[in-house]
């Protein structure tokens, strides 16, 4: 069974789903006409990027970078800890994404009040 490189297959799963999420989100942002759907697309892009960040920090058979008593035991037996930096960056990125989503949705509500529609092809007082 050693002939199969499981991490190769796993990388397809993890990277593939992350890139897939980014592409699906991009598709939604570019193609969809409804503003709320566009914001959903933005949050899907964010999710994909976050997953990509975590995936590059992962180390095979690693454990979380927390030195609790069990964690110290695990490190002593030779289990590596995964890279903590991408995780810290993702924490920041998630919160920033939430802030952007909130502002975007408030703009959607504001636009709906003025135009009585939330479809981008009906909102055309400015050139797109």
């Amino acid at each position: 069974m050693d002939t199969i490189d499981y991490y190769q297959i796993m990388s397809i799963g993890v990277y593939g789903s992350a890139i897939g999420l980014i592409l699906i989100g991009l598709y939604a942002v570019l193609m969809k006409k409804h503003l709320t759907k566009i914001v959903i697309g933005l949050s899907i892009i964010d999710a994909g990027i976050n997953l990509l960040f975590i995936a590059i920090g992962y180390i095979s058979n690693g454990t979380a970078p927390i030195y609790s008593s069990q964690g110290i035991d695990l490190v002593k037996t030779g289990t590596p800890m995964v890279d903590p930096v991408p995780q810290a960056l993702v924490l920041t990125a998630i919160v920033i994404g939430f802030g952007v989503t909130a502002v975007a949705l408030s703009l959607v509500i504001r636009l709906y009040r003025h135009h009585n529609t939330a479809r981008i092809d009906q909102i055309k007082s400015l050139k797109w």
């Binding site: 503003l35 502002v103 703009l107």
Partner: protein, 501 residues
């Protein structure tokens, strides 16, 4: 307490957190406190600039961890010059927006918080020496810009803000992916160390990362074809915010682009890329500007065009060219600030802010029209105003490098600029006055702000020597990559770095 660059970030943040409480004490405090904070930052700028000119780059370490382990702020002559310029412009804009519109105390509080954070974000972008911290400040800038664009809660403002948000989200997504790929390749986030380790990165990876950065930052720096947000945001935002975009936000975007290309990467062809993109941006923007009916949109396109010139000058890459580019950034901030400030009073009550209704305003609003004409004369580069010198230096630098085509291009575009600016000025003074239009009386703060900018334009125009030593040092600091790396990482091995000048 010793003055240090971290005050640029910490003090405004502290004040921003404090302002909701101050608003409960007295309503007027919400308007005064940002001015005091920016004045204090001006004091910090003066102290630090003197220090930097005498002793060289200051590296401020955050949380006691030396570079490359922690975050650091780099206050070099270049970043310091930009930060001081932004502080000065922020003060002028604060004066201008002090009583720009009589809004309730609650919106005024929110406006000044957002404005102060916008200033903090742009200064943070310029000062930081860490690539992810750069991203965080970019997001602070972006979110406050979105909210400020929609601040009037009218129809088009919200639409422009949403458009800006959409494109800005793309930018941040691209920059985030670029940071991710960069981290996997170099294992660090410190800009100086990234520059040291860049030669180990495979070329195709380097190019992919650079393209991602260029797309992301090109959006912020209004590079063609990524500048779709700019005209709408400029024209629909409240006019102090439009000035802020022209004077601060775009400068921060250009700074990011320059820092990435000059310091972080050593890819051949990036400079030529800057020239080409700058030229395309310049031509497209000026051709669009001449077609505009709305004054603010025209100014916005003109601003994009000026950024094109800045990119061309940076792309030439010699000392004189960089000097000219930084000089132009300074001039553009001051002159475009004056143009936006006076222009927004000119079109205050006209429908759709269109130019055709401005006939004969030169008699009705003499002071404002005078300011506008001064700005128009300065920005097209007529002597003896400030814009002349920067354009001259850029042309000389292009001539030194035998780039005849570029000279022809810049001069040709200047003629286009002259045409559309003088169309407005001519209408102001020689058009037939129309009846029934209501003049908006400018606030005292606005008049003082515009006079300050006009004085700066005249003084720099007649005695460019008051500013050139700073700009010379700034250009040297930007081009001296080894010195940047050395001041951040004293023990770094510089032998393998390419493109050291």
């Amino acid at each position: 307490m010793v003055i240090s660059p971290v005050h640029y970030i910490a003090v405004p943040l502290l004040a921003a957190f404090l302002m909701p409480l101050l608003a409960k004490i007295h309503r007027e405090l919400t308007r005064i406190v940002p001015g005091l904070v920016i004045l204090y930052l001006g004091y910090v700028s003066v102290v630090l600039m003197n220090q930097v000119m005498a002793h060289g780059t200051i590296v401020e370490v955050i949380a006691g961890w030396n570079a490359p382990w922690g975050i650091n702020l780099v206050y070099s002559p270049f970043t310091g010059f930009l930060a001081s310029m932004m502080t000065a412009m922020a003060f002028v804009i604060w004066l201008y927006s002090y009583r720009f519109k009589k809004v309730d105390s609650q919106p005024a509080l929110k406006y000044f918080i957002l404005f102060m954070m916008l200033v903090t974000g742009t200064i943070g972008i310029v000062l930081t020496g860490d690539i992810f911290n750069f991203f965080v400040f970019l997001e602070i800038t972006a979110i406050s810009s979105y909210s400020l664009t929609a601040f009037y809660r009218d129809r088009d403002g919200a639409e422009a803000a949403f458009k800006y948000l959409l494109i800005g989200s793309f930018a941040s997504a691209f920059i985030l992916i670029a940071i991710l790929l960069l981290y996997t390749q170099v294992g660090t986030l410190n800009m100086a160390q990234i520059a040291v380790r860049m030669h180990d990165v495979p070329t195709h990876m380097k190019i992919t990362i650079l393209i991602l950065f260029l797309v992301g930052l090109g959006i912020e720096a209004e590079m063609f074809p990524l500048n779709g947000w700019a005209p709408d945001a400029y024209s629909q935002a409240p006019s102090p915010v439009g000035v802020t975009f022209a004077a601060l936000v775009v400068k921060a975007g250009v700074y990011g682009l320059i820092r990435i290309i000059f310091t972080l990467f050593d890819v051949h062809g990036a400079y030529e890329y800057l020239i080409v993109m700058g030229a395309i941006t310049l031509v497209m923007a000026e051709l669009a500007a001449i077609r505009q009916k709305s004054l603010k949109r025209m100014l916005a396109y003109s601003s994009i065009g000026q950024m094109g010139v800045v990119m061309i000058a940076f792309g030439i890459g010699t000392n004189e060219a960089v000097f000219g580019a930084i000089f132009l950034m300074f001039n553009h901030a001051v002159i475009k600030g004056l143009l936006f400030m006076s222009g927004s009073y000119l079109v205050y009550n006209t429908p759709n802010k269109e130019i055709q209704y401005l006939s004969g305003y030169g008699m009705k609003m003499p002071l404002i029209s005078l300011f506008f004409s001064l700005g128009a004369l300065a920005i097209v580069g007529l002597p003896p105003f400030a814009g002349f010198w920067s354009k001259l230096y850029i042309l000389i630098a292009a001539a030194d490098n035998q780039m005849i085509g570029l000279i022809a291009l810049i001069l040709g575009v200047s003629i286009v600029e002259i045409v559309y600016y003088f169309r407005v000025v001519g209408r102001l003074y020689f058009g037939k006055p129309s009846k029934g239009s209501i003049m908006q009386k400018p606030t005292y703060g606005g008049v003082i702000a515009m006079s300050l900018l006009a004085i700066v334009i005249l003084v720099v125009g007649f005695y460019p020597d008051v500013i050139t030593p700073y700009i010379h040092n700034a250009a040297d600091a930007l081009l001296d990559k080894a010195q940047y790396i050395h001041s951040v990482l004293p023990n770094a091995d510089l032998s393998q770095i390419q493109n050291l000048k």
